[in-house]
Symmetry: C2
Subunit: 301 residues, 2 copies
């Protein structure tokens, strides 16, 4: 197949766009569309610090690189959760990525800051490890983004993630979840940083190809604690439909965003937030779930 | 497995309801839920003539029998489209069904009434045969239901059909289709008969089991003209999700109906209808599509 723009050998065929592109023109296409999404959803502007949590996987590294190449002020953080083998392996990839592409990435060690690693917490507490991990990462990312004065906290969510979440919410017709799902999640409190997803319209495959052609060495290891998540089922069935009818995922998500605007302008009642009596961050409870995980309320007493 | 009600040997396990039932109690459960759906959606009442198009398949025969056993005044019609082998095979099953269960079924021969069978029309015209067949059946069923003064035209649509249609509409977020999909389709003109789907909450499997235990000999042949329809893909992926999480289809459809009530109370603009200048039935055009298929406008000139 030949590149539709220059006639050179194509490296990718984007079936849903009916577009074959060479390396150079794919990179151009990919970055142009990243910029388009940022502008369309008014995610952030040049000159503002942009926070990105970098796990070492293809999505977070690729989004950091694409934003840097587009001239944005990218600041990364890697949260070392202390998961044997996995965390060390990812951390090495991330530090290499940081120096190779000149992207500043802070290494944040959970145990150093809070005295316990994720597996240690999991051994001590009854909560599900994946839910604890989510709480911890959300908390640290937000707090750090706030500290560096970031205009937005970027996540690497891709079209496969968004479509799977959307399918899951749609199968239950959960109006409040449906009303919220968006490439931009505005903060509901001054101490929450706006979350944005510049890759929400790219498939996993497109991002993987971008990461590869840009020479990113990304992690292919999945977290040893993650089990066959339900979202994988939704990704699987959406991929089946995509193969039979290219463009299904993109249409599903794009048309949803229009539908949401027209029919789901519901005033969602946000839970009333107060100040965590330990850390001062916003929470619905007296002590926020992060402080509870680390038992900071009990240490206080 | 034992029947949850009487302890006898169960013949079916309804995973999504976590319910195993023997023959007797399954029939009871099935008919009770049919009645519940009829009442809940105010579909029709005892004493009113109820029209059903009977193809010979499991859904239409089963719904006719269930309604008769529930004491409704069921009137059937079989449309003989003149499809070689298939139409004859189906017609024989339908006449046997009619006499076995004492359900009056009119045999309506397309060629006798309009001079051409479906395959003859297909040979003469460029339209797609499945779309012509749909137009013809809708027209004849409605006209006949109107003539017999039916309170409703019953179709055998099941949960698999409804969920597949819903998934298809949802993947495109087609608000006007989503706003209309319902177990009851109210008539938009006095010459249109209300359409109702008393089996909308039963899976194909439940209906097949009912048909079998009731001794219905139904057609297992599919129309030789029907090709792998897109709806089969949707049924397939929904079945995959159902296996992994029983109740997915039922929840998807039920929760949708609630969502529709809350968020899709859109005033759909119905197309302006006028009188077909040939047959007098409502249509958006000068001559309705049924009359055009048979060239009745040209014969008139």
């Amino acid at each position: 197949m030949k590149c539709k723009i220059c006639g050179e050998k194509a490296i990718i065929h984007l079936r849903q766009h009916n577009l074959a592109l060479c390396r150079k023109h794919f990179i151009e296409w990919f970055e142009k569309h990243t910029e388009k999404t940022i502008k369309k959803f008014d995610m952030f502007r040049r000159g503002e610090p942009i926070a990105i949590g970098i796990s070492g996987g293809k999505d977070s590294t690729a989004v950091a690189l694409a934003l840097k190449r587009l001239g944005y002020d990218v600041r990364g953080i890697f949260i070392d959760l202390g998961i044997p083998v996995y965390s060390e392996y990812s951390r090495n990839l991330v530090t290499n990525f940081s120096s190779k592409f000149g992207i500043p990435i802070e290494i944040y060690n959970l145990k150093e800051h809070y005295g316990e690693s994720l597996p240690e917490l999991a051994a001590r507490r009854r909560d599900k490890i994946c839910s604890m991990c989510g709480t911890i990462k959300r908390y640290i990312l937000n707090k750090w983004a706030l500290e560096i004065g970031a205009a937005a906290l970027v996540t690497g969510h891709n079209l496969d993630d968004e479509a799977a979440t959307l399918l899951s919410n749609t199968l239950r017709w959960d109006a409040s979840y449906l009303a919220k799902q968006n490439p931009v999640l505005p903060p509901t409190h001054p101490k929450f940083v706006k979350k944005v997803k510049p890759f929400a319209f790219f498939t996993e495959r497109e991002i993987a190809v971008y990461a590869i052609v840009m020479g990113i060495e990304f992690s292919k290891m999945s977290c040893p604690f993650s089990k066959g998540a339900k979202s994988l089922r939704y990704k699987h069935v959406l991929n089946e439909l995509e193969v039979q009818s290219p463009g299904t995922k993109l249409r599903f998500y794009r048309e949803f965003l229009k539908f949401q605007k027209d029919y789901l302008k519901v005033q969602i009642e946000e839970p009333k937030l107060r100040k965590c009596k330990i850390c001062g961050m916003p929470t619905t409870l007296e002590v926020c779930s992060f402080c509870r995980i680390f038992g900071l309320d009990r240490k206080e007493d």
